[in-house]
């Protein structure tokens, strides 16, 4: 079965540093998402992306965050200046269309900000 892949699986960074989390969505999918999950808490929506632009974003997704689809396969999340509270598991997800049903999730990137 096709899958969403994320790299790296773990990322440790110093507070104030920039990080880029990478995702390769399923190849024929058109809608892309980033979610995060702080340890032991629920999964929170960050941003959705379609047709090379942001469709929707949450309050969490402030000016420190940006997303990009630099080529036909990658989808990235950049955090410009990391804070301690950015430490979380970040999940990328994709689906063919809103009517196609479920989101397919990647295995996640565990980000630790020290």
């Amino acid at each position: 079965e096709p899958e969403v892949t994320q790299t790296p699986s773990h990322q440790v960074t110093q507070m104030g540093q920039e990080v880029i989390l990478r995702c390769v969505p399923i190849s024929n999918h058109l809608y892309f998402y980033w979610y995060r999950q702080i340890l032991g808490q629920k999964v929170e929506f960050l941003v959705s992306f379609y047709n090379n632009e942001i469709s929707e974003k949450s309050e969490i997704f402030d000016d420190q965050f940006s997303v990009e689809r630099p080529d036909g396969s990658n989808f990235t999340l950049k955090i410009r200046s990391t804070k301690l509270e950015d430490s979380a598991m970040y999940f990328c997800a994709s689906r063919l269309s809103p009517s196609s049903g479920k989101l397919f999730f990647g295995s996640g990137t565990q980000l630790s900000v020290l």
């Binding site: 998402y33 929707e56 809103p98 989101l103 295995s107 996640g108």
Partner: protein, 112 residues
């Protein structure tokens, strides 16, 4: 603000028993999803419920959706240890499909 609440948050049950997890949501939606998450792992899709009255079953798990009551249930039949995980429901917001709102999660532990 959309709220998706699950009940209970924590559930400890013995093998062989039955139990139901509830998912209530605060806005109109006819699309609801159930996911399973093992510790430190990603989210695995269990069920996709796309209309009022939808019922899906897979093994010892059965999910249903009542859009009028804004309620979905995940019923566990004859629990086994392998079902121990955290279960999340998620709602498509307002039919736009642009994002899912996840519930608070139910941490299930099945005791041998």
């Amino acid at each position: 603000e959309l709220k998706v609440e699950q009940n209970p948050l924590f559930l400890s049950m013995q093998e062989g028993k039955n139990y139901t997890i509830y998912c209530n949501y605060s806005t109109t939606s006819d699309r609801l999803y159930w996911y399973r998450q093992d510790p430190g792992k990603s989210l695995e899709s269990l069920f996709v419920l796309l209309s009022n009255g939808a019922v899906k079953q897979e093994g010892r798990l059965m999910a249903s959706l009542d859009t009028k009551a804004r309620l979905s249930t995940l019923h566990i039949t004859t629990a086994v240890h392998d079902l121990s995980a955290t279960y999340f429901c998620a709602v498509d917001m307002s039919g736009t499909g642009n994002q899912f709102y996840f519930g608070t999660g139910t941490s299930l532990t099945v005791i041998p």
